[in-house]
């Protein structure tokens, strides 16, 4: 009853989130102390199983044709069954859409408590304590989970990976699930975006409300191309329909962790900053010297972006 289960999505493969989740799970299991069990749901490539084996004591591959495509109801049934078998003290998930939507419901089915968007998970006085940003990132709370198991979705990409150790065992778990008859996936659309995923990007150029429309994003794109960066946007720009919702970075968008985040015409509301807090260097171009974004910047330029972006692209192209 002092083991830790981490939930990995077979389809996602070995990304930074999987590595961070393995690291977070390993450290929590060692502190309890208990065993680390990595549960892999859905068709898993062998590289993920191998990466999980290198860190976890056991890798439990849940094989069921129902898990081929994601469906919250079926995934929840599978996770509940797996967790009941493994009887963990804590269950950790990533903070992707799937992890976020499953965690609370999983906790409910296991009679436990959930909390999310954790930057830290620890055990003290027999309770799991989850540290997370609240009030749109303006404050930090430590939440003590009253029931067991504690089900926590963590900021997986910001978590340090763990060192490889003696490879763990692999178990194949057959659940024989009954399919949910109520909900079925009709269409799945993955946005064609060049290069790496935003969450994995090492360089990001991001635009906000101050751009005033969709057209300037084309100009920002030339800058991003010159830098080899990915494009992102603030919530205001996404809500206005200037760019797709999948570009949104912030409390309710993506949580990114690049080496450099260049914010252009973004005022820097705390909800936005919550999504970029794990960046190594934040810099900004904004004509308002009092824009809150500068409080989070290593360096900044107080100018109208329209005067700056063109010449900046020229200089970056010249030097590369």
């Amino acid at each position: 009853m002092s083991d830790v289960v981490i939930c990995l999505w077979g389809r996602a493969g070995v990304d930074r989130a999987a590595q961070g989740l393995l690291g977070a799970g390993r450290r929590l299991a060692d502190s309890l102390p208990g065993k680390l069990r990595a549960v892999v749901l859905g068709p898993a490539d062998e590289s993920l199983v191998t990466a999980a084996q290198a860190v976890a004591d056991t890798v439990v591959v849940v094989e069921d044709e129902l898990l081929g495509e994601y469906n919250a109801e079926n995934y929840l049934t599978a996770l509940t069954a797996a967790c009941k078998t493994l009887a963990p003290r804590a269950v950790l998930l990533g903070n992707d859409a799937y992890g976020q939507e499953l965690a609370a419901r999983l906790a409910h089915r296991l009679g436990g408590s959930a909390a999310g968007d954790a930057v830290d998970v620890a055990i003290a006085d027999g309770k799991l304590r989850v540290t997370r940003g609240v009030y749109g990132g303006k404050a930090t709370a430590v939440i003590a989970l009253a029931k067991s198991p504690g089900v926590v979705w963590v900021r997986a990409r910001a978590m340090a990976p763990a060192e490889a150790r003696t490879p763990g065992e692999v178990e194949r778990l057959q659940l024989g699930l009954a399919p949910d008859s109520r909900v079925k996936l009709v269409t799945k659309h993955v946005e064609a975006k060049e290069g790496v995923r935003l969450e994995e990007a090492r360089l990001i150029v991001s635009g906000g409300r101050g751009l005033g429309g969709p057209e300037p994003f084309a100009q920002l794109q030339t800058l991003a191309t010159a830098m080899g960066a990915q494009m992102a946007a603030s919530r205001a720009a996404c809500d206005a329909g200037w760019v797709p919702p999948s570009w949104q970075v912030g409390q309710t968008g993506k949580k990114v962790a690049p080496e450099l985040y260049l914010a252009i015409a973004i005022s820097g509301a705390s909800q936005h900053v919550m999504g970029i807090a794990d960046s190594k260097v934040i810099c900004a171009i904004n004509r308002d010297p009092d824009a809150p974004i500068f409080k989070h910047c290593r360096f900044g330029l107080v100018e109208d972006y329209q005067k700056v972006v063109g010449p900046l692209v020229e200089r970056l192209n010249r030097r590369s």
């Binding site: 919250a72 009030y135 404050a139 909900v183 799945k188 946005e191 450099l260 809150p292 290593r298 900044g300």
Partner: protein, 265 residues
């Protein structure tokens, strides 16, 4: 189609960080001069419901759980022409998400049947993001999260729900009843109520349920989790503003700083 929209009143999330204070001993935010407002994602949910009703008909009931001040968010929803409003009177300060879900589920069951329950994906204060999911479990129905729209499916009695994922979107078809949590989207930006409707909203009667009517014990309001600590993080970042005699010089210096990092990768 009977649509129930869960709404929450929160401290205005737009208050600037410099004016934001917490009471670390009581582990809650200080109200100060800030307004209480409807949580934005709840407004997105109500807007989604209003658009559904305009296109396909139906009845919208808004429901909330809290003290006397929460009447205000119900009035605002009525001003946007929700059909009915229900207040679950609860004395609990900062109740945990399971308590809220249990109170809402009990209130919803008392109202009778429903087809869809909408909730915001999370709140702008504690941002737990759990109420919708826990509510679905309490009611024993499916849940589709982070949706931007829903509409009748070809098959009668079913709904098509489009929801956002990390890399795009997914569309599900679901039987009713179900819970849907709503996220922000260009199509569900909340409308502004008409002055006449604001006046009208004060003439409408709110349905009020006491926790005791619903069989919910206020003493359980933090038996799921407790806030053990609350503080404002101190940030040490000092922004270096790029200076220069001319715009050209400033752009040169800025480009150099960016290039340093780009080259290091």
């Amino acid at each position: 189609m009977d649509i129930i929209v869960c709404i929450k009143q929160i401290l205005d999330p737009e208050i600037p960080a410099r004016d934001f204070r917490v009471d670390s001993a009581k582990r809650e935010a200080e109200r100060g001069g800030a307004n209480l407002v409807t949580n934005i994602f709840c407004e997105n949910a109500l807007e989604t419901a209003l658009q559904f009703r305009e296109a396909h008909g139906g009845k919208i009931t808004v429901i909330t759980c809290g003290g006397e001040s929460t009447e205000e968010v119900l009035r605002k929803a009525l001003a946007l022409r929700a059909d009915d409003a229900v207040l679950i009177e609860s004395p609990a300060e900062n109740p945990d998400p399971l308590f809220v879900a249990q109170a809402l589920a009990a209130g919803i069951r008392k109202l009778g049947s429903f087809d869809v329950v909408l909730a915001g994906r999370e709140s702008g204060d504690w941002g737990a993001g759990q109420t919708g999911g826990l509510l679905a479990e309490e009611l024993g129905v499916p849940c589709i999260s982070f949706a931007e729209t829903f509409e009748p499916a070809a098959e009668p009695g079913k709904l098509t729900v489009k929801r956002q994922t990390d890399s795009g979107w997914e569309q599900f078809e679901s039987a009713t009843p179900l819970v849907i949590t709503i996220t922000n989207h260009e199509k569900n930006v909340p409308r502004i109520p008409k002055t006449r409707d604001v006046m009208q909203s004060y003439r409408k009667t709110l349905t009020k349920f006491a926790l005791s009517d619903l069989g919910v014990d206020p003493a359980t309001s933090s038996s799921y989790y407790q806030i053990a600590e609350l503080s404002i993080p101190r940030k040490e970042t000092q922004c270096e503003f790029i200076s220069g005699d001319t715009l050209e010089a400033k752009i040169d210096a800025f480009a150099e700083r960016v290039n340093e990092i780009v080259r290091s990768i």
